[in-house]
Subunit: 190 residues, 2 copies
């Protein structure tokens, strides 16, 4: 069967998040996986690609990131809006079966021992660049992107094709309190 998930070259990985989508952050340590939602993720460099993500001290995912030094940033779709809201408002600390309860399925990509969330449109595997002051003072984490993939039904030839894909593939952009906007129409400068 044709696999629609294709690698994205690292020098174009920033394009997967450049338009500011809300993302899912996942991590694994010692047999435990967690997934949370984050609107506060941002590209930091092109090549090698780096990004920043804010991980609050109360999140279980943060502990897994700190212990494993690895995490995944993935771009959820309109079809995953409710999943995104649920993983963003429920904690593994309170519900050990959170992921199963929400209906999150994880799979593998490349040779990374990391949980990649099924159904997303893009995935960036990241290695934590330890910056203890940023992490403690600002909850700010820096990652180097070490692998990138996208679903070719919505990202191919190095760019997003939201305008041609099923609207269920569009990225979602959280404002506050479970209110999101989907990404809209393509616009170009002259």
């Amino acid at each position: 069967m044709h696999n629609p998930i294709k690698p994205v070259s690292l020098d174009r990985a920033y394009r997967l998040i450049n338009h500011g989508p809300t993302v899912l952050v996942s991590a694994r340590h010692d047999g435990v996986d967690d997934v949370m939602a984050a609107a506060w993720v941002c590209a930091l460099d092109f090549d090698p690609p780096k990004l920043t993500v804010v991980l609050d001290k109360i999140t279980a995912t943060r502990v897994l990131v700190e212990r494993s030094g690895l995490f995944v940033i993935q771009v959820p779709t309109v079809a995953q809006l409710e999943l995104t809201h649920q993983v963003g408002t429920r904690s593994l600390n309170d519900e050990p079966a959170k992921l199963a309860s929400v209906g999150v399925e994880c799979f593998g990509l490349g040779d990374h021992d990391l949980p990649f969330v099924a159904g997303c449109s893009a995935w960036l595997a990241c290695r934590l660049i330890a910056e203890p002051h940023n992490q403690q003072a600002y909850d700010l984490f820096i990652g180097e992107v070490i692998g990138a993939w996208a679903d070719s039904r919505v990202f191919h030839d190095g760019r997003w094709h939201f305008e041609e894909a099923d609207p269920a593939w569009r990225s979602i952009h959280h404002v506050a309190g479970g209110h999101f906007y989907g990404i809209g129409e393509a616009l170009g400068s002259k």
Copy 2:
């Protein structure tokens, strides 16, 4: 005449950029103003609100930020797409009359000695929190938001109303090379 620009309470200022728009960064020092475009801006904290922005060493705006310790993050609209692309690809270092040539008009807000770009939908006046390591190693700047305003024709009652406003007010989200997406439809979790 009715002024549509209204203050936004600082505890809700993060909502102005939470959905990931491409922004304009402006700064002033010693009588010189500059404005650049930046997709790499991100909320960092709620209250007091903070944000991060990546400012490349080649930009003239960065020098003004470093010298004055102040800057403005503002949210441009679909109507300003070409202006955004132009200020993002032309440099004050090459063109001392860049702003006039592009057609950027600045005005004042509050008692801040800062250039606020006319026609945007929202403005966040920021005080630089000096973090020399981040600035040198990553081009990463942290600001505390000390004043926030929005145009009430598209942001009021503490949230965006893109779905009811003229489409020309929508935020723009840069992918690469002058290709943008406008923000799309409102979506809510259950």
